[in-house]
């Protein structure tokens, strides 16, 4: 079966797109899927850092597109997971070095060799974003439970709808159940209420995420971490499994409602 091409985007920067890509990729590959991640943030690459593969980069995506190397030469194999590859972004070029049709060609060559192609989109809604969604079969939108991130996610969903890429699925990242309980943070319900799209995961705030990113060992490897568990659950859902949402809160009524919302396809 040809690969499913999934783009992870957000509109706003700093909400955790790259972390989400790294963790979902690790979780998918740990379960035996063949995965390749593409860093679409040309000029500001960092997916390689989070995956701990920075020192292995020889060629990057722009080298492939401009014909300086073969596709296979730019694909870096993960240290621990033999079925996980990264195609890094170029650090010394900008978004205009790649066009949507370049992305389509590149991904066409990858489709037959992998189960999942994950594309890390840059923030914003300009060229880099357009490149990142050009070949997507499915789009995941990452947001934080805060007003500005949700506003940008809403804008991105609107653009995806007009580009016929579907409304996408939502990841709510860095939810803090204590703050929500004290009404100091938007709840997952508030976010879903506004965006009205399918929910694919809620990732709780967890300091292990930052620690993992800095060490180049994504938190999805950590079986004790709640955030790691949340990312592993997202990966399972992408593989078509039905997984209940983590119980981050003791308030059952609220979570049952959330599960109902998420089950609605």
């Amino acid at each position: 079966m040809p690969a499913q091409v999934i783009t992870i985007t957000s509109g706003k920067g700093g909400v955790g797109k790259t972390t989400a890509v790294a963790n979902i990729a690790v979780a998918l590959a740990s379960e035996g899927s063949r995965v390749v991640c593409i860093d679409g943030d040309i000029g500001l690459r960092n997916l390689d850092v989070i995956l701990g593969l920075e020192n292995r980069i020889v060629y990057d995506i722009v080298d492939v597109i401009e014909g300086r190397c073969r596709l296979k030469q730019a694909m870096i194999r993960d240290k621990k997971l033999p079925e996980l590859y990264l195609i890094p972004a170029a650090q010394t070029r900008d978004k205009n070095a790649v066009s949507p049709s370049d992305m389509n060609r590149l991904i066409k060559d990858l489709r037959n060799d992998f189960d999942f192609v994950l594309i890390d989109s840059p923030a914003g809604i300009e060229r880099g974003f357009k490149n990142a969604i050009a070949a997507a079969d499915r789009v995941l939108i990452v947001t934080n439970p805060e007003v500005s991130a949700v506003r940008d996610a809403d804008r991105v969903i609107g653009i995806l709808e007009s580009e016929e890429k579907g409304p996408g699925s939502l990841i709510i990242n860095r939810l803090n159940p204590t703050l929500v309980k004290n009404h100091d943070m938007l709840s997952a319900d508030d976010v879903l209420d506004l965006l009205a799209i399918e929910l694919i995961g809620i990732v709780p705030e967890d300091e292990n995420v930052i620690i993992g990113s800095n060490r180049g060992a994504p938190v999805a490897f950590d079986t004790k971490s709640r955030a790691g568990q949340a990312f592993r659950n997202i990966a399972k859902r992408l593989r078509g499994e039905t997984v209940p949402f983590l119980n981050l809160d003791s308030n059952d009524g609220f979570w049952q409602r959330l599960q109902r919302l998420a089950g609605r396809k």
């Binding site: 949507p100 809403d154 804008r155 007009s162």
Partner: protein, 227 residues
């Protein structure tokens, strides 16, 4: 204009160039295009190019050759438009677009309705998301939500059968009798004619409300009830 140039027409689009070719033999066309490009390298450098080849039948190797030649000159070919199904298929095979810039109905759409004025309504059965702007000379009816960051500008009335959380300007050409109504009213800002009201506080128990200009010339919301 010399002879080679008459074979091709170049137009600027919003996001690149559109080059239209005649039905002359392909080799001549290709040569004419490249001559044109080489004559004005500064103009073409870095351009996004869409090619309209009318009924020309192109096969993969021809299209690849052209794409590469353009790419060597710093031009990215992103779309090939053709009446020939073979050419279209070829373009799709290479991952090129076969239509240029689909109209983007979501963003900044203006609806022109001549002479009907306020007696016409625009019915939108969807949620208006952030970044959407609807301008219309008649009434606007939305069956869905108006999210924060979305804008509706109407010369007449605006009715939202859903949650109104964005910006609405009714009676935009100065009609002070215009009204705005919604099932749940918690907008960023409302305007009727030239009166402006800042955000209304979201209510505990939302109820349908209607906003109009009151006797004092200020915007006022009240329960929206029949009659």
């Amino acid at each position: 204009m010399n002879e080679t140039n008459s074979l091709i027409q170049i137009k600027g689009l919003r996001d690149g160039l559109l080059v239209s070719l005649d039905d002359a033999p392909w080799e001549e066309q290709r040569a004419a295009l490249l001559t044109q490009v080489d004559g004005q390298p500064a103009f073409f450098q870095g351009a996004r190019l869409a090619l309209d080849v009318s009924s020309q039948v192109l096969h993969v190797n021809e299209m690849v050759a052209l794409r590469d030649q353009l790419s060597e000159r710093g031009i990215s070919l992103w779309a090939v438009i053709s009446e020939s199904p073979t050419t279209e298929k070829t373009a799709q095979l290479l991952g090129l677009a076969t239509r240029i810039s689909k109209p983007r109905p979501e963003e900044g759409r203006k609806f022109a309705v001549e002479d009907l004025g306020e007696e016409t309504a625009l019915f939108l059965h969807r949620t208006l998301r952030s970044g959407t702007r609807i301008e219309f000379s008649g009434h606007v009816v939305v069956l869905g939500d108006v999210n924060p960051g979305a804008e509706i500008v109407s010369d007449a009335n605006v009715m939202v059968w859903g949650r109104l959380r964005g910006m609405v300007h009714a009676g935009a050409k100065g009609n002070r009798k215009a009204v705005i109504c919604a099932l749940e009213l918690s907008p960023m800002q409302l305007r009727i004619a030239d009166e402006v009201s800042a955000a209304l506080r979201p209510q505990e128990n939302p109820r349908p409300e209607i906003v109009r200009i009151n006797k004092d010339g200020k915007l006022q919301a009240e329960l929206w009830s029949p009659g």
